[in-house]
């Protein structure tokens, strides 16, 4: 049976760690108590998925401490897509960012449940159920904000337009990724694209929002070239491990 490359596992782990941290930022700031918990729940789901992936990556790397991978790398060593580091801005941005990401991850995890890598299959088996709920939650909010008041519609349309060019990176294939595809460890993103588009377009249209026609896409996350936002996020994320090296609970 084929085994994943640790660099590929780390990309996936970073996507989930960084978005989990973004959602955690809503603690104490969400519009209602109910949404505070929803965002914390989704954030913790993502953190749990990240943790499984970091544990697996550290095993592939011969036993590196998973905390070091999660908390002690430098900015350019994180290989997450730029979409997940995009600041929360407002509730609408967070909902749309989640819709774009989860609409991709749900079919992606589904595909990973038949990966040639047994460990990834196991991680995906649990994650796919969590991702299904993340799609549902962000979809329902998109419908209500888009088809809501004049202000909510305008705000969420701005979020859609701003975040659209960050979705191309989800489908990127480079040399490393091609190797993972050839080893049947990872699915071809081309096979994920129709499901992603169907979920996103159907949701935006039902929400009376315009689907952007922009085709130019941002890139850089997978090679460690990040937006300014990631550095600020990492200072908070890494604070405890940097202030108290090797601390444990």
């Amino acid at each position: 049976m084929a085994q994943a490359d640790s660099k590929f596992v780390l990309r996936l782990a970073d996507d989930h760690l960084i978005l989990g941290q973004r959602l955690a930022e809503w603690c104490g700031h969400a519009p209602t108590l109910e949404e505070e918990l929803s965002h914390a729940n989704i954030g913790l789901d993502l953190l749990g998925q990240a943790r499984n992936l970091f544990a697996y990556a550290s095993q592939l790397l011969g036993g590196t401490d998973e905390d070091r991978l999660a908390f002690l790398r430098l900015e350019h060593e994180y290989k997450n897509v730029l979409l997940v580091e995009f600041p929360n801005e407002d509730f609408g941005y967070s909902v749309i960012r989640q819709l774009f990401f989860s609409a991709f991850m749900h079919p992606y995890w589904q595909a990973l449940t038949s990966s040639a890598d047994a460990e990834l299959r196991a991680i995906a088996g649990q994650a796919v159920k969590e991702a299904a709920y993340h799609v549902r939650h962000s979809r329902e909010w998109t419908l209500r904000l888009g088809d809501g008041t004049e202000e909510s519609r305008q705000r969420v349309q701005t979020a859609v337009d701003d975040l659209w060019s960050f979705t191309g990176e989800l489908f990127e294939v480079d040399d490393l990724y091609r190797q993972m595809m050839e080893a049947q460890v990872a699915p071809d993103p081309v096979s994920i694209a129709p499901t992603w588009r169907e979920t996103v377009v159907a949701t935006l249209e039902e929400a009376t929002l315009q689907v952007p026609t922009e085709t130019w896409m941002q890139t850089g996350g997978r090679v460690g070239r990040h937006t300014e936002a990631l550095g600020h996020l990492l200072t908070e994320l890494q604070y405890m491990q940097r202030a108290y090296p090797d601390m444990a609970w």
Binding site: T32, L33, E34, L37, S38, H137, E140, R144
Partner: protein, 95 residues
């Protein structure tokens, strides 16, 4: 900014198959679907349930606390109404 409070919904959760839904609390939400999701997120985070009911709080008809003497006291001195005078077979399980 206008502050408008969403309607209140009562949440009932069935802990496992075979037992009744039990009232666990309430959530604010704009509509039924969002209330269901909020209930799931607030009340089933630790594996508490396998089924959720939500009911608009405004739809609940409650007894008036002022009527409690007439409503409930007559039942307090009638021990013969309790089924305590016969053995329940083990096979019955929880009742």
């Amino acid at each position: 900014m206008t502050v408008k409070h969403s309607p209140l919904w009562e949440v009932f959760i069935r802990a496992r198959n075979g037992v009744a839904h039990k009232h666990v609390g309430s959530v604010h939400a704009e509509d039924a679907e969002m209330a269901l999701q909020a209930a799931r997120d607030v009340y089933t985070r630790r594996g508490e349930g396998v089924s959720i009911w939500i009911v608009p709080t405004a739809q609940i008809v409650a007894s008036d606390p002022h009527d409690k003497e007439a409503m409930f006291e007559p039942g307090e001195n009638k021990p013969y109404r309790h089924p305590t005078f016969y053995e329940v077979p083990d096979e019955v399980g929880h009742m």
